[in-house]
Structures are given as C-alpha cells and as structure tokens.
C-alpha cells in the first residue's frame, strides 16, 4: 500500500502520461489510417509535412486550433456546445481503468501500470462508453439540421443495438475468467497449453466466436466503415457533425479515434492475453517488454480496423440492423450458452 502523498503524485503522473500518450496515439492513428488507406488505394497518403508526412497530425492540430469556430444561428446553443465535450470526455475517461502491464517498482514503490484498478473495470468501460452515445445523439439533435438529425438518430439506434451484442460477447470471456477486473482477466490468460500455444481466451477459452461478435459490434459502436451510417457522406453530408467546425469538429474526431483505441485495448485484454508474451533479458527490458507486447497487439487490432476501412463498402441501414439483431445477437447468445455449458461441465467440483 502506498502512502497518500506518493499515491497522489503517482496518480497525477500516470494520468498526465496516459492522456498524453493516448492523444498522441489518436493523432498518429489518423496518420496511419491516411497512410495505409492511401497505399491500399495505390496513393501515397500524406508526404509533404516532415519525413513520410509524420508531422501531418501536428499541422492538422494547428489548423483546427486557428480555424474559425462557426456556430450556425438556429442551433440549440447549450447542447450544441456540450455535445462534442460529452463525446470526448467519455472517450478519454474510459482509458482510466485499462491496465497496460504489470506493476513496475520505482525506488521501492510498487506502481501498477494503470490509472486506477477498479474491481468492476469492465463494467466501468461499458458504462462510460454507453454515456458517450449522448454526445453523438445530442449533436445531431441540437444542430437543427435534418442531415444531422438523421445521423444522430442512426447513431443512437445503432449504438444501443450493438451494445447488446458487445456486452453479450464479453459475457463468455467473463464466464471463462470469473472476474470483472481487467487485471485478473489478463492474469487468468497467462501461461501456455499444449507446450507452445498461449492461453489466450480466443484460443484456450474457445472464445473465437465471441471475438468475432466483439469485432463486428466494435466497428458499429465506433461508427467505422462498414458500419459508419451515422456519417455516411453520400447520403447525409457528414451526419451528426455536419454543422461543426474547427475544434468542436476535432473533438468528435478525437473521440472517434480514442474510442477505437479503447476498443482495441479491451480486445487485447479480454481476448488476446493483454500484456502476456515472452519476457527475457536484463531487468529493465523485463519490465518494459509486457508493455511492448500490449502495444503491439493493440496496433495489430488498429491495423485491422484500417484495413477493413480500406477494403469494405458501407452497409445499407436495414442490412446493418438485420445483421445486428438477426445474426450477431443469436450468435452471441449461442456462444454464451455453449461456453456456460462447457465451464459448468469441466470446472472442478
């Protein structure tokens, strides 16, 4: 147990560090997306600003900061201003319970690599992201614009529907791990079976169906192609953020990418074994390698996100809803029943 001053100092440092890294990761996920999608479409992506266009996110940030912030005359002002804030606050808050690795020891103090360890961490993430829907829905409504309203309606219907599939896909993992704490779920996945295969939930727990459901639901939850109906530019101009400009628009952008990263972190923790991986070498390397494995897995997940965006077309809205309710939902329930039966049969008496 840490003493109170040390605890506060450690928490503040961790919070600042994590938010800084998260925002940087958000900026460079945008860069990565533009680069990868560019190459998929046989273009170069950003190349002008810095080597490989690496300074492009900074240039974009400066542009967002200095652009004129327009507020259209007929919007409902309080909610119009609050909506992007709700979106970005919820997106940034959910990272606070995500563990990035084991604890490290600095000057005799054991500091866990996580802002706060809540024993219902998974539920906290789900709760915070479910509040995030308000950002999108209220943005659509308060803009007083039919395209925005349609985008907001689509977003709220889609997110509420897919949240059920998302939650059900996680229940299988919870049954296998027997805990709500993200740290304990990861610890339950350490070790190997059959000599070499890692004991990740997707393999050892047999949760590959759940992983598939989670993947699909996560695309829908974060409004990404092929489920980006709320901002389908061919039908709705830009959907719920049509009327937003400058920093308010950037907030929605940041929220979307921060949500992507949170979803990728959750997938890593719940299905891909978190920070577990081969650890070797001197003590410093030993303490940093788990974080490296964690980041590598998150990166793979983000890459798949971008890959899908570059290859798949957009669904129709009725197809989206039918897919969610008639295919994913029964699949998630079937997975839940099968997992529960297996665990009940094989668990020690």
């Amino acid at each position: 147990m840490l003493s109170l001053p040390v605890y506060i100092i450690a928490s503040v440092i961790k919070t600042v560090l994590v938010i800084f890294i998260l925002l940087t990761a958000v900026a460079y996920t945008v860069w990565l997306e533009r680069k990868v999608v560019g190459h998929i479409q046989n273009r170069w992506g950003p190349t002008r600003v810095g080597p490989f266009g690496l300074l492009q996110p900074l240039a974009d940030g400066v542009k967002f900061l200095v652009k004129e912030d327009l507020t259209p005359p007929h919007v409902y002002r309080p909610l119009f201003i609050a909506a992007p804030m709700i979106a970005v606050i919820c997106a940034l808050t959910s990272i606070s319970v995500i563990p990035f690795g084991n604890s490290i020891t600095i000057r005799g103090y054991q500091i866990p690599l996580q802002i706060t360890d809540v024993n219902t961490g998974l539920l906290v993430v789900l709760g915070v992201t479910s509040i995030g829907v308000y950002g999108v829905a209220l943005a659509g409504w308060s803009s007083n614009n039919k395209y925005s309203l349609l985008g907001g309606l689509r977003a709220s219907a889609q997110m509420v529907s897919y949240e059920i599939c998302l939650g059900l896909s996680l229940v299988g993992v919870l049954i296998v791990s027997g805990s709500f704490s993200l740290r304990e779920i990861v610890q339950a996945q350490s070790g190997h079976f059959w000599g070499f295969l890692p004991k990740w939930n997707i393999l050892y727990g047999g949760q590959f169906v759940a992983f598939f459901v989670y993947l699909m639901a996560a695309y829908a939850e974060t409004n990404r192609i092929p489920f980006d109906l709320p901002e389908a530019e061919t039908e709705l101009v830009a959907g719920y953020h049509t009327e937003y400009s400058a920093m308010k628009f950037a907030m929605f952008f940041m929220a979307e990418y921060a949500n992507m990263i949170t979803v990728a972190c959750l997938a890593t923790l719940l299905f891909l074994g978190g920070w577990s991986g081969p650890v070797f070498g001197p003590p410093l390397l030993r303490s940093l390698l788990p974080v490296f494995w964690f980041v590598a897995k998150v990166f793979v997940f983000l890459f798949i996100y971008i890959w899908v965006r570059g290859t798949l077309p957009r669904f129709r809205y009725d197809q989206l809803m039918a897919f969610g309710w008639k295919f994913l939902f029964p699949l998630a329930i079937a997975n839940l029943v099968v997992t529960a039966l297996f665990v009940a049969y094989f668990s020690p008496k």
Binding site: N119, L123, G127, S130, I131, E163
Partner: protein, 174 residues
C-alpha cells in the same frame, strides 16, 4: 468523511435534477435532467458499496433506456410543452399532502432507524453476492420478472404489427 460529503453532494444533485425535470418545458431538457438523476443515483449506490448495481444503473438506465427516450423525442421532434395554469385542487391538497408525507417518512426513518439502515460502503454489493441472491434465493421472482418483460416485448411487437396488415379481406380488420 469524504464519502459522507460526496453522498450528500450527489444526493443534492439528484434532487435538483428531479426538480429540474419537472421545471423544464422542453422534453429534451427534461430527459437530460432524468439522465442526471440516474447518474447521481449510480454514484450513491457506488458510495454505499454496491458497485455492480451502480455500473448496471449507468449502463441500463443512463446508457440505454434514456437514450431510447431521447431517440423517441428526436424522432417525434417534440416541441415545447404547453403550460396550463395548474389545478387548484393540486395546490390546495397536493402540496400540503406531499409535505406531510415527506415529514412522516423522515420522522419514521429517524425514530426507527434500525428498520433498514446501512452504513456507507457496507452494502454487500459485489457481483458474486448479487448473483447468488438472484439465482438462489430470488430465483422465482427473477424468472417471473423475465417472463413479464417477455410479455411486454410481445405486446409491443403485436401493437407495432397492427398497422402493417392492409391486405385483410373486408370485414376482417383488426
């Protein structure tokens, strides 16, 4: 001590949200006040020690039920409410009635505090405890409730289907 201060603060926010819910004339503002009520109730549960109930309160009520409320308000494009002057009966009987009932409840709770009090953070609210309670002691009520919800869903489906059957033979309209 900190817990008590937080408990009182969020209790006040909860009551303020509930009053604001009635005072606002626009449906969206009312619905958002209700979200505030739900969220601060969740914090109260958390402070009492029922972290699972708190999380479920946020996920289900603030995150799903109220989103659907707002969805419907947006869909119907409901405008400002019309104000009436209010009925005299409500003013003469209702306000004193509410005051008396509130005082009665407060008086009973203070003088019979052993009837159902819990200290802060002491509520056994872990997921394991709740699971055991729901699936052992309260299994029958739990299942009956789920059947009730199922009936409600089926009722909603039947009501929604009614408009979509225009090809019935004459004289057979529902």
């Amino acid at each position: 001590m900190l817990h008590l201060i937080l408990f009182l603060v969020f209790g006040a926010i909860c009551v303020a949200g509930a009053i604001n819910l009635l005072a606002q004339s626009h449906p969206i503002s009312s619905a958002l006040s209700l979200v505030v009520v739900m969220a601060s109730l969740a914090v109260e549960y958390l402070l009492l020690g029922a972290e699972f109930v708190a999380a479920v309160q946020v996920i289900v009520y603030a995150g799903a039920v109220m989103v659907l409320f707002i969805f419907v308000i947006m869909l119907l494009n409901a405008g400002e409410e019309e104000r009436t002057k209010g009925s005299k009966v409500a003013m003469i009987l209702g306000v004193p009635g509410i005051l008396t009932a509130g005082l009665l409840i407060a008086w009973t709770l203070i003088h019979r505090s052993n009837a159902g009090s819990v200290t802060l953070g002491a509520l056994p609210g872990s997921p394991q405890t709740i699971g055991k309670l729901l699936f052992h002691d309260f299994l029958l009520p739990f299942e009956v409730t789920s059947v009730l919800v199922l009936i409600a869903i089926m009722g909603a489906v039947v009501l929604a289907q009614r408009a979509e059957t225009p090809n019935l033979p004459p004289g057979k309209e529902i």
